[in-house]
């Protein structure tokens, strides 16, 4: 399949540039967070993964997003299958089943299907709502797609991986909202979600998850336990000050007080070592990234494209805001990586592919 030169002209170079910039900053921060000891090769691994992800991104541009959306239902079924497989046959790591083993490459290479399921869900939701013909949607119109996405969320939550499962909620809500869901229905959905949340608290949450939430509300309950991460991350952020302690100079990060500092708390390392100036820069970059993504939703030539871009943007926005707020001690600690910056192959791959899908929508905004 040849690619039209016109399409190349319309690639959103700003979005791609910001993506590469954030990814690069991520690699540098991972290098600082884990530059000694047995984690010293992690930045290199991340670099390889970016190197693997970028070609995938470019290849994904070749396929018209509408073709992909047309295959949303089989992709959805594949996703359910993969999640079931993980749940029953995935290797058990730290009391969870989230991974599919893919052999060995600089250590074991594992794929976390839930990261890619987010993209499938975005395609699926976009397709389903795009085909709805009515101007406005009532609650009844969203029950079907809601149940379908809910199944994915439940399967991911069962791994358990609550953070990723939660990502599907903003995805679904934002697309439903764009598709014309009535405001009353939006509110009703919130109520339903709250009730589901309440029941989930009662029956579905594991004890460690409850403790996390309790200690979030009062970290002094367990300063050495679940409250530890929040306290230490806040100390790292706050002690960074205006200009930061300098690259590789953060005592919280370098002396190991920060937990998960190259994965979920990578932003904390950046805040400690680069200070408020660094935080401001990176958050501005994320804002630009999200802005361009949503702009794509506005510019898209059709509903599928708009919904796809908006759904992906909403997921991204949720992850960025949640992760940064968690690092700042505003939200309970959850295993939710910062897109593009956190260490993790599945996360970086899925993030780059997500950017690819948005580039895909934007570059084809004039095409027939």
């Amino acid at each position: 399949m040849a690619i039209d030169r016109r399409l190349l002209v319309n690639v959103d170079w700003v979005l791609l540039g910001v993506t590469l910039l954030l990814t690069g900053l991520g690699v540098l921060t991972i290098l600082s967070a884990a530059h000694s000891g047995h984690g010293s090769g992690l930045y290199l691994k991340q670099l390889y993964l970016v190197g693997l992800g970028l070609p995938c991104l470019l290849v994904s541009l070749l396929v018209d997003y509408r073709r992909l959306a047309d295959r949303a239902v089989p992709l959805y079924l594949l996703a359910v299958g993969a999640l079931l497989y993980v749940l029953f046959f995935g290797p058990r790591i730290a009391a969870t089943r989230r991974w599919i083993s893919l052999g060995s490459f600089h250590g074991t290479l594992q794929l976390q299907p839930s990261e890619l399921v987010k993209l499938v869900a975005a395609l699926f939701v976009a397709k389903v709502f795009a085909e709805s013909r009515s101007e406005t949607l009532g609650l009844r119109d969203v029950v079907g797609p809601g149940a379908a996405v809910g199944l994915l969320a439940l399967l991911i939550a069962a791994e358990p991986d609550l953070g990723t499962a939660f990502c599907l909620i903003p995805l679904f809500l934002s697309v439903a909202f764009l598709a014309g869901l009535r405001m009353k229905a939006v509110l009703a959905l919130f109520v339903v979600l709250l009730m589901v949340g309440g029941l989930g608290w009662q029956f579905a949450l594991k004890d460690y998850q409850k403790t996390r939430i309790y200690t979030f509300l009062d970290p002094s309950l367990d300063p050495k336990g679940a409250g530890y991460q929040k306290i230490q991350s806040q100390i790292a952020v706050g002690s960074g000050g205006l200009l930061g302690k300098g690259y590789k100079q953060g005592s919280q990060a370098q002396l190991g007080y920060l937990p998960a500092r190259h994965t979920d708390f990578v932003f904390s390392v950046l805040a400690e070592e680069m200070g408020f100036v660094g935080v401001l820069t990176v958050l501005a970059l994320y804002l630009l990234l999200l802005w361009r993504m949503l702009e794509t939703a506005q510019l898209a030539r059709d509903r599928v494209g708009a919904f796809l871009a908006a759904g992906i943007a909403a997921t991204f926005a949720f992850q960025v805001v949640y992760n940064v707020a968690m690092v700042a001690g505003l939200l309970p600690v959850k295993g939710l990586p910062l897109p593009l910056m956190s260490y993790g192959g599945s996360s970086i791959l899925s993030s780059l592919l997500a950017v690819g899908l948005i580039l895909n929508v934007r570059m084809r905004r004039f095409a027939n």
Partner: protein, 606 residues
């Protein structure tokens, strides 16, 4: 597929999403501003607190050596078993296992865990034997919350035999921490709590150092930021002779009492014992609060240093003061005689001599040797109370000697002025008669009596008893003792009387082969009758026996006071003890029978 879909609603609503996202990110930026700029100082302090630890480098406490360099107090390494309950995954299991390993009851272990600071290890067993340490090492994996630390432990090789002079250490108390002297110390610090350990505490402690280290999240040290080395506490070389000290303790053979020996020329204390005593080693670990409580309520008062805190009537030993005063004042000459019919009847009272048939005509030499009361009644009436008191004070009685030990008692020499002030009553002449033989209100400490013997022995120099010769190798300078200005011939008469006490008088049991011992016996009437009504044992009604002495008669090298509580007369109760001490001092083999064969008691006094 339609070419033109109506996307206006979508576009408007995307605009709402954009604003929402921008709004959230701006809120986050504001929050980071407050964390990183407004509250930066607070978090920087927390980060600093995280990364640096102040590790105290304890300065070893200075050792105490005897006059010949033998160790009296030292620090020996010991093992403490620590438990940090926060580190235990299963505290009950850990306590049970630990109890089995250490052979301690679970209740005993749990008692240690109450009243403690969080996250700080608790000493569950102090000075654990090596076998325990090995057993714990083998169970290291199961007992992760348990650790073993090596700490220097204060060790007293003589144990109870020198308890009161050396003293003991213990954890600094709450009250001490509030006093300015200890305000710089931390809770748990070991300080001297009695004796020399307390008197020279600051010097012995040295100066603690510290290390400021950078630690990682697991508490492992990664770098050292700053350090100050500790300054060892300097050693103290004492005047004590450890052999004599041990012999003195043995001489008491478990009886209650006290003895102190000093060099009459310098006031250096050669040995000092007070019984019953306690083992100061037991206090060294600082974790036996019950021990102190038990000892402090013991009716035998083992914590009291009787040498400086026991106040007794001097009894007939006070006759040394009377003889010196009367000779010095010219009231009598060595040849002046009085007739003793066995009693003296004055002030409508009959004052008895202890020999009912009377000693007949006696001079001062004979009166001392036989301890004739009537002779000294006569002196008392002629001297009168004020002169007696003045001489007693000139000879060092009635005031603390200034020994370098805490809490020394002063004793009491009564006078009309004192009686009016304290008892609000006039002085009666009959009281002077009682004072003349060391009864009534007169109170002295054994140390004062030993020093009295020294003053008579050295020709009138009021030496200050002291226990430290040098500190950290530097000799401690002792001021020249003030000469009290007694006529040499006066003291010579008293000395010859004292020689007669041992050679032919009441102190025969203190006699030594080949060495002339000068001494004086005495017995202190036990005043507190009420106490004996509570514990009416046979021995408790007996008077306390005194013996003060110096030897040899020419160039005396040792002055001594011995008090045996409820030991009966000084000649029977105290002189044999003095004999053993003197024999040890002069390197003579002590005979199996304390009384030298052939010694007969010419009299039994009072």
């Amino acid at each position: 597929m339609r070419i033109y879909e109506d996307l206006r609603v979508v576009q408007t609503r995307v605009g709402i999403l954009q604003s929402l996202v921008a709004g959230l990110i701006v809120l986050l930026i504001i929050h980071f501003w407050t964390l990183q700029v407004v509250r930066a100082k607070y978090f920087r302090a927390l980060a600093e607190n995280n990364r640096s630890r102040l590790v105290t480098l304890a300065a070893p406490r200075g050792p105490l050596l005897d006059r010949n360099g033998r160790v009296l107090v030292e620090n020996r390494p010991s093992f403490n078993v620590l438990l940090t309950p926060e580190d235990a995954e299963d505290l009950d299991g850990t306590v049970a296992k630990l109890g089995r390993t250490l052979g301690m009851g679970e209740a005993q272990l749990r008692e240690r865990l109450v009243r403690r600071a969080q996250f700080r290890p608790v000493v569950v067993k102090a000075d654990a034997p090596l076998a325990d340490v090995a057993a714990l090492e083998a169970r290291r994996v199961e007992l992760r919350a348990v650790s073993v630390e090596v700490v220097p432990l204060r060790s007293y090789p003589l144990a109870a035999a020198a308890a009161h002079a050396l003293g003991r250490v213990g954890e600094v108390t709450e009250r001490q921490l509030q006093s300015p002297e200890f305000s710089d110390l931390q809770q748990g610090a070991l300080v001297g709590q009695a004796g020399l350990e307390s008197q020279y505490n600051r010097s012995l402690m040295g100066k603690d150092g510290y290390r400021r280290v950078i630690v990682n999240s697991r508490g492992l040290e990664v770098a050292e930021a700053d350090r100050r080395s500790p300054v060892d506490g300097p050693s103290l070389t004492l005047t004590l002779d450890s052999h004599l000290q041990a012999a003195m303790d043995r001489a008491f053979a478990g009886r209650a009492g006290s003895a102190v020996a000093l060099d009459p020329q310098t006031g250096e204390i050669l040995a000092m014992t007070s019984t019953p005593a306690y083992d100061p080693n037991k206090f060294s670990t600082g974790i036996e609060p019950a021990l102190w409580g038990r000892l402090s309520t013991d009716p035998g008062t083992p914590l009291v240093n009787r040498v400086i805190q026991g106040q007794y009537s001097p009894g007939s030993t006070f006759k040394l003061v009377m003889a010196t005063a009367a000779l010095e004042e010219g009231i009598i000459s060595p040849d002046t005689t009085f007739y003793c019919p066995g009693y003296l009847s004055v002030y409508n009272t009959v004052f008895r001599c202890h020999k009912a048939s009377g000693h007949g005509v006696v001079n001062v030499h004979q009166a001392l040797a036989l301890s004739c009361n009537v002779f000294f009644y006569q002196l008392g009436m002629r001297l009168e109370i004020n002169r007696i008191a003045a001489y007693a004070k000139r000879l060092g009685l009635g005031a603390p000697t200034g020994i370098d030990l805490p809490y020394e008692a002063g004793g009491l020499i009564p006078s009309p002025e004192w009686k009016l002030r304290v008892q609000k009553a006039p002085w009666y002449g009959g009281e002077t008669v009682s004072v003349s033989i060391g009864q009534g209100q007169v109170n002295v400490t054994p140390l004062q009596m030993a020093r009295l013997a020294a003053v008579i022995a050295n020709g009138g120099k009021l030496v200050r008893p002291h226990l430290v010769r040098s500190r950290g190798g530097q000799p401690v300078s002792e001021e020249a003792p003030p000469d009290q200005g007694f006529k040499p011939q006066v003291l010579q008469v008293v000395r010859s009387g004292m020689a007669a006490v041992v050679a032919e008088g009441t102190g025969g049991r203190a006699r030594l082969p080949g060495i002339v011992v000068c001494g004086k016996t005495g017995s202190a009437q036990v005043v507190a009758k009420s106490r004996f009504d509570k514990t009416p044992t046979l021995t408790s009604v007996l008077p306390h026996g005194w013996f003060v002495a110096f030897a040899p008669a020419e160039n005396p090298r040792i002055a001594l006071a011995v008090l045996v509580e409820h030991g009966g007369s000084g000649g029977e109760g105290a002189a044999p003890v003095a004999h053993e001490i003197l024999a040890a001092f002069f390197g003579l083999k002590a005979p199996t029978e304390p009384g030298v064969a052939g010694v007969t008691d010419p009299e039994t006094e009072d």
